[in-house]
């Protein structure tokens, strides 16, 4: 515990958090809006990193869980006028159920099949949303009548608080005993099992945690934007962006994912004046990062070292 407090990384992160809190006093409402989205994205990326970095499971469909949370919250609010907190919690619960349904068969698989199953899950969700367009607004999206707040500052602080809470929880988890076991199971399943750990149970737990965080964050994002659409919470492209954000920040660092998300989203908005071509540019930059800087920004800095 004391080691943690003395860790420079934690102090740096705390400093950044305090700095972030002060931003509304000297940045415009629009930029705050962009950062708000980036913070929610950061939670997506952190949840993914927990699963991949530590449990070693390549999840190609983080948007399956996010989409489930987002759309169930949206539909509850739009069709049954449930209040926002209820919808957000419901989003988390639905994502959890979805995660369980996905994980139970998926964890039995080896090699590329796990990744495949997650990919298939996203396709299924996407098709289901399009087919039942009457309920879900189909490809183009649906509107929710309630938003968290119209004030950019409020939205920003809520998103920031959410991010900080999730970051503390997830980072703490990754450094705890459970996190170590997850890492062990991820890197050497047989060895971990030989040591007596129930690998499947731990991976399932990781999956569920990832699911809950993703689902709740997805629901919050919907109530920030006032819309839910396939292109922002379900599309494979979004999943790729999440993976890129985590890779960009540094795999297995949890906190790096936040940096990666902020960078990615801010860059995307910054390039918006390019008009149509901005998605192309972001994809190209991401591809370049993969090819030339696969270790990401924080790289080895935050990796739990083998010898302390």
């Amino acid at each position: 515990m004391t080691a943690l407090l003395r860790s420079r990384v934690v102090w740096a992160a705390a400093l950044l958090a305090i700095l972030a809190t002060t931003l509304p006093w000297w940045l415009s409402g629009y930029i705050l809006g962009v950062l708000t989205v980036a913070y929610y994205f950061g939670v997506f990326a952190m949840s993914w990193d927990l699963l991949f970095g530590f449990a070693g499971e390549v999840n190609f469909g983080p948007t399956f869980l996010i989409g489930l949370g987002a759309y169930s919250a949206a539909m509850l609010n739009a069709h049954w006028s449930a209040p926002i907190p209820v919808c957000v919690i419901a989003g988390g619960v639905v994502a959890l159920i979805g995660g369980l349904l996905l994980a139970v068969p998926a964890l039995r698989l080896r090699g590329p099949y796990f990744g495949l199953v997650t990919l298939v899950a996203v396709l299924l969700l996407q098709n289901a949303i399009v087919i039942f367009a009457g309920l879900t607004g189909g490809e183009i999206g649906m509107m929710v009548p309630d938003v968290i707040s119209v004030d950019a500052n409020h939205n920003y602080w809520i998103a920031l608080a959410f991010l900080i809470v999730c970051a503390i929880l997830l980072f703490g988890l990754s450094r705890s005993a459970i996190g170590l076991i997850l890492q062990a199971s991820g890197q050497d399943t047989v060895g971990a099992q030989a040591l007596g750990f129930n690998v499947t149970k731990h991976k399932l737990a990781a999956f569920c945690i990832s699911a809950v965080f993703s689902g709740v964050a997805g629901a919050m994002l919907v109530f920030y934007q006032g819309t839910a659409s396939v292109s922002t919470v379900v599309d494979l492209g979004v999943g790729v962006q999440i993976i890129i954000a985590a890779v960009l920040g540094g795999r297995r660092t949890i906190l790096g994912a936040v940096l990666g998300s902020v960078f990615l989203i801010v860059a995307g908005e910054f390039l918006r004046p390019l008009g149509q071509i901005n998605t192309f540019v972001v994809a190209a930059v991401a591809l370049a990062v993969i090819l030339f800087f696969p270790d990401g920004l924080l790289g080895n800095l935050l990796r739990v070292r083998e010898r302390e």
Binding site: V117, I244, A283, I290
Partner: protein, 291 residues
Amino acid sequence: MLPLQILIDGFAISSLYALGAIGFTLIFGVSGVLNLAHGGVMLVAALMGWMLAGEAGLGTYLGTLLGIVCGMLAAYITYLMVVRPIQRSAAIPREEKEIFVLTGTLLWGIMIQQGMAYLFTDNPITMRPLIDGVMNLAGVRVPFNEIMIAGVCWVVIGLLWLFVNRTRAGKALLAASMNPRGLTLLGFELSRIYLLAWTLYGVLAGIAGVLLASFLGVSTNNTGQLTASAFSIVVLGGLGSVSGSLMAAYVVGYLETVTAYLIAPTLRPLPALLLLVLVVYVRPQGFLGRR
């Protein structure tokens, strides 16, 4: 009347699916790459073929051929500039290479889609049918083009079979999908075999792209759907199994056609998806896949 209509339509669309899926599974079988830019490669072939045939005034036949060549080029670029650099990168640990390749091809697919949309808008395009007109087949009105497409697909599949089973290069391909290391020990150069695999893939995807454009029409918005559809069929049939993909393509094609005709056009993709879920839960290696 209706059963015959379903039979013919289902056959045409299944053949087209099969062509796309076989290319996809070939690349996975031989080089272990799930090319998520698959839709993009087909799109390039279709759009370039359309543009060269119409705008550049080269006529339908030449346009189609050049479209296929463009598809091949797109496949090459995918391999040489995205897949191979990642596979050879020293900075990426071996266990993570797969995910990086997947992400890389997905990003590349997005780039193709956006780039093409910028150049051509997302309006669907169709290529003029290679043969105009309809014929009456036992009371069912069938466009000549549809029959021709099914025919071409099967000719290509047949040629592929001949190539893989009867020629030396083809057999080397087959061997590479089973045991790459053994092949290198025997003195074959893996890199040349991979190049051959990607060439074949480019041709297959290119033909699938231009045929799709002349049969149903293609738009940049379809890119993701094309990849997803090929992908689902390949998973159903079994990763790496060409005959599995062929079988699965017909199963999916007919499921969709029957649903569209007999149940409702809106529910068309549903049964195939449900089948996919079932297979993933019960038999994840697909119909003919190896564990």
